[in-house]
Symmetry: C2
Subunit: 104 residues, 2 copies
């Protein structure tokens, strides 16, 4: 680890996870408990712009936090679901939730 001190939690992880949409996506995918489609996610996330959603999903897929699977039908049925590694960020969301309810 090139950083001088271990005190900082991984830069990469921080840059990935310290993002509103990334956390919302993980939250909704977890809540659903089943694969969701692009437009499902879009609706659940108060209509994020498709550009942003695409970018975030790609980032999450690249790092294997979500799995993208194309149905047999081809382009018209793609779904996203959390991987084990994706579920590893749930504690972060839980921590934020705890913080939120701690002293409003």
């Amino acid at each position: 680890m090139s950083n001088s001190t271990m005190g900082r939690c991984g830069e990469d992880a921080l840059k990935l996870v310290a993002d509103y949409w990334v956390l919302r996506i993980v939250e909704e995918l977890n809540r659903a408990g089943e694969p969701l489609r692009f437009c499902n996610l879009q609706r659940l996330l108060d209509g994020v712009s498709p550009v942003t959603l695409t970018a975030r999903l790609r980032a999450l897929d690249d790092r294997a936090l979500v799995a993208r699977t194309e149905g047999s039908a081809g382009k018209a049925s793609v779904s996203y679901e959390l991987t084990d590694r994706g579920r590893a960020v749930l504690p972060v969301i839980q921590a934020i939730s705890d913080f939120a309810t701690s002293s409003p």
Copy 2:
């Protein structure tokens, strides 16, 4: 973790905390263990632009996560330090750190 009771973790908290600079600031303030000055923070945070740093510190101060105190000398000595409420976000940073070291 129950998904239905969690609902979405507080929107406000999420919007505040799901931010790279906010988390870095809290991290450094905690690490220092003592009040830091604006320029100290700026140096510790790889030279964030003063505009961004000012904005984040103001947001954190508004929500009482950090306390801003002007020294007796007036404008030339302002310092920032974590409040108890500010320390309440440390678990979030810890969770991210855990995630980062979990499966690289």
